[in-house]
């Protein structure tokens, strides 16, 4: 029996050997997205990522709200990395409105952004651990993350959605004993994450499973436009904190971590090295930070930008995160566009998964440092 198809549509011709698997959106190993995977035995023939299940129209919403009201909802795409998501927006609006950020606010922004990067990477690492069936690696980062979340709560007043960065500085100054508190926690945190190497990164089973899985060569990484840890794991030294220093990063000694292998193991190790580097940056920033001073420029109510456009980008937990704002002398942005690292890293997934074993799928998928909600915006 053949059903009459509407004109222009045709049935997909699939070999008998090939089995199509819908990994997601209700699959425990998919996140808020779907992967249409075709397998021949244990080998993946093709992979078609299907994002868009959590599209919220953040960019369109921003066109109806003024520059200040936009702050809390723009951090929603990645609430675990909320400081870094707001960072390019704040930098852009400052340039549009011609604001000069106070020196102390610049350093506090760096500290908050690095703390938040660690919080995000811990969350990512927890999921990477459970994807590989390592339940201890799920619990340990999820527990150690609390340490920094509590610290960020003391600074910003919120545990996860901070809304801490505002155009012209930061929302409020830090509490009185912030410096020693922060130093103590960061030192303990650094000691703790170094222990992860013994149970996870040096684990022979993990190494045998992830080494050589989903190799992305240096040329392919550049050609496919990947960014962040995916790019740096393929041997390209591209860290915006070092290449295009913004705010106080220019005055700090930032080391960017690069590995040459380009496989799943290297991609999973770069964020962990980034966390150690973040601890260094925080310690430097605490030393160089002015001990007092204002942290925020006074704004007029309903500030208007000129007839102008601006593009700013920062290094977020998932790679470079850009914000393009077009202003038409209105209190609201005429157009706002986020260029996110997650979506750019998603593009290389079909290339990496083709020809891999099905057992490598979670190891490759989550090593791309991809956050489905951010990709959909």
């Amino acid at each position: 029996m053949t059903t009459q198809l509407p004109p222009g549509l045709q049935l997909e011709k699939v070999d008998e050997r090939i089995m199509t698997l819908n990994v997601g959106p209700q699959h425990p190993g998919s996140g808020h997205m779907r992967l249409i995977i075709k397998v021949d035995g244990d080998y993946i023939v093709s992979c078609d990522p299907d994002p868009g299940y959590v599209h919220r129209g953040e960019e369109k919403m921003a066109e109806y709200r003024n520059y200040i009201v936009n702050i809390p909802h723009l951090e929603r795409p990645v609430i675990h990395d909320s400081c870094n998501v707001l960072y390019p927006y704040c930098l852009g609006v400052e340039e549009l409105l011609g604001l000069e950020v106070p020196e102390r606010a610049k350093y506090l922004r760096v500290i908050a952004s690095e703390l938040n990067r660690c919080v995000y990477i811990q969350y990512w690492l927890a999921i990477y651990g459970i994807f590989l069936g390592h339940s201890t690696m799920f619990m340990w980062p999820a527990g150690d993350r609390e340490l920094l979340i509590d610290l960020l709560e003391k600074i910003t007043g919120a545990r996860v959605t901070h809304a801490y960065f505002v155009p012209g500085g930061i929302r409020n100054d830090v509490p009185a004993n912030f410096e020693e508190m922060c130093l103590k926690r960061v030192n303990y945190f650094e000691k703790r994450i170094k222990e992860y190497a013994a149970i996870f990164y040096d684990n022979p089973i993990l190494i045998s499973r992830t080494q050589g899985a989903g190799v992305l060569s240096r040329e392919d990484a550049i050609r496919l436009g990947t960014t962040g840890s995916t790019l740096r794991a393929s041997g390209v030294d591209f860290d915006l904190r070092k290449k295009e220093p913004y705010d106080a990063y220019g005055e700090l000694d930032v080391h960017s971590n690069v590995l040459k292998d380009g496989d799943s193991y290297a991609r999973s190790k770069i964020p962990w090295l980034d966390m150690l580097e973040s601890c260094n940056i925080i310690r430097q920033a605490l030393q160089k930070m002015p001990k007092s001073g204002s942290v925020r420029v006074k704004l007029k109510p309903n500030p208007k930008g000129g007839n102008d456009e601006v593009y700013k980008r920062v290094e977020s937990g998932r790679g470079s995160l850009g914000c393009y704002i077009v202003s038409r002398s209105q209190p609201e942005p005429y157009r706002l566009k986020l260029s996110v690292g997650s979506f750019r890293n998603l593009i290389c997934m079909p290339y990496l998964l083709k020809g891999e074993k099905l057992g490598n799928m979670p190891a490759v998928y989550w090593s791309l440092n991809y956050w489905p909600v951010e990709a959909d915006r």
């Binding site: 651990g129 459970i130 590989l132 069936g133 339940s135 340990w140 089973i205 045998s208 057992g359």
Partner: protein, 433 residues
């Protein structure tokens, strides 16, 4: 219930224990004893000590407890008791429940959590009962296109096969085993051979993609690890010259086989982990790749049965490891002897004296055997649980590579060691040890 753990106080701790004891006693008296009495009226009971075991005799045992002794004796020596309660399924299920509790608490300690905490008030000891109740009360959903009879039968078959495995394990000296078979070791491997068949049947009958992939993976894994599993015990068979599990235990009175055949023990342990689908070999249930593998379509108590079966299987495998390599029930006498005057004169309870001659419960040697057996089995179970907190999951090609290349090679090394010990006259029949 609040999410913050209440402060520990000794009085609360005592009170929670007393609470549980109170409810257990209340329920037993209000439900258990009337139910037993009703049952006694309907079932014909045997004649003992020239007395017909009628409900009236049962009632008189309350007045004179020594009249219970022949009844207890006859129950404990019946086949029904052996199959359901002591060396058989009940004992295994009890140890399996203890295993689940230990696994949860141990893993929680390893991962800086508390684990089950509230249910049952003392460290979440009743969590398992709560989970069981939840599974029983859940709806059983069968996929529309499933092959229903096989799909229904698979969990039951799984538990039944695990129970059949348990029946072959000798627990204590003096014939405390359900089925004392002369080819016990062969029978064990014959029963283990059923597990992949049941797995594939259930996976195929569900008519769904992820269970199918999980079933195929389980088939590959179990079949390829059965070979090293069988080959690794060949050394013991060569040295003892017997396939009877009780005789294998008796041959280890002076030394355990793990001392002479450590390679065989290691290979057996790894193959056992793979047969049990424990991490790092839990590929058939890898949730990030294939949802829950061959368990995906099971819901409610069907899932509960499969879990029960897999934990009973875990107990049976670790008991087999103890029997083969760790000397079974052999061990120094640690159980204190029962007071002599009580055995002679009976227990004085006011006006009544209960005489308790010859109850198997008072057999010091047998209780000592069981204690050693349980201690060793729990040790092996602990070693099986530990990798779950330490290792990630392995990939199927690496797994098969380990099974076919490394383990089988090591098995032959093990057999050569055994043969060498035999022909050098060190061990075996007529050996110097």
């Amino acid at each position: 219930m609040s999410a913050i753990a209440p402060k520990f106080r000794f009085s609360y701790f005592l009170r929670s224990i007393l609470d549980n004891v109170f409810w257990i006693i209340t329920l037993l008296t209000l439900v258990g004893i009337p139910l037993a009495m009703v049952l006694f009226f309907y079932f014909e009971l045997p004649v003992m000590n020239n007395n017909l075991t009628s409900p009236y005799l049962m009632l008189t045992t309350i007045a004179d407890p020594s009249r219970q002794v022949p009844l207890l004796k006859s129950i404990m020596h019946s086949d029904f008791f052996r199959i359901t309660a002591f060396p058989g399924f009940g004992f295994a299920a009890l140890l399996a429940a203890a295993t689940i509790f230990i696994e949860r608490k141990m893993l929680a300690k390893l991962q800086l959590r508390v684990g089950p905490f509230y249910c049952g008030k003392i460290e979440g000891i009743l969590q398992l009962a709560g989970d069981g109740l939840k599974l029983i009360s859940k709806e059983i959903i069968i996929p529309a296109k499933a092959d229903k009879p096989i799909f229904w039968a698979a969990p039951v078959l799984f538990v039944a096969t695990a129970a059949a495995f348990v029946a072959l394990i000798p627990v204590a000296g003096g014939g405390w085993v359900v089925a004392d078979v002369d080819v016990g070791l062969l029978a064990v491997f014959a029963i283990i051979g059923f597990f992949p068949v049941i797995t594939v049947l259930s996976a195929w009958s569900a008519n769904s993609k992820f269970p199918f992939i999980g079933g195929i993976r389980a088939l590959h894994q179990m079949v390829s690890f059965e070979i090293p599993l069988i080959l690794s015990v060949l050394g013991i068979v060569i040295l003892t010259g017997s396939l009877n599990l009780s005789e294998i235990v008796q041959s280890q009175i002076h030394y355990w086989w793990i001392v002479f055949l450590p390679i065989g023990a290691i290979v057996f342990f790894i193959a056992m982990l793979a047969e049990l689908e424990r991490i790092p070999f839990d590929l058939p249930e890898a949730e990030s790749e294939i949802v829950a593998g061959w368990l995906t379509e099971f819901s409610g108590m069907m899932y509960g049965l499969v879990q029960l079966g897999s934990y009973v299987k875990l107990y049976a495998f670790s008991a087999l490891f103890v029997v083969l390599f760790l000397g079974g029930w052999n061990g120094p006498m640690i159980w204190p002897p029962f007071p002599e005057d009580i055995i002679k004169n009976g227990i004085v309870m006011g006006p009544i004296t209960a005489h308790i001659p010859g109850l198997p419960l008072l057999d010091q040697q047998m209780i000592n055997d069981v204690v050693w057996f349980v201690i060793k089995t729990m040790g092996v179970i602990f070693m099986i649980l530990l990798p779950r907190g330490v290792f990630p999951r392995i990939r199927i090609d690496l797994l098969l590579h380990i099974g076919w290349y490394k383990l089988i090679g090591l098995c032959f090394v093990n057999i050569f060691i055994a043969l060498g010990l035999l022909y050098a006259g060190v061990l075996g029949p007529g050996g110097i040890l």
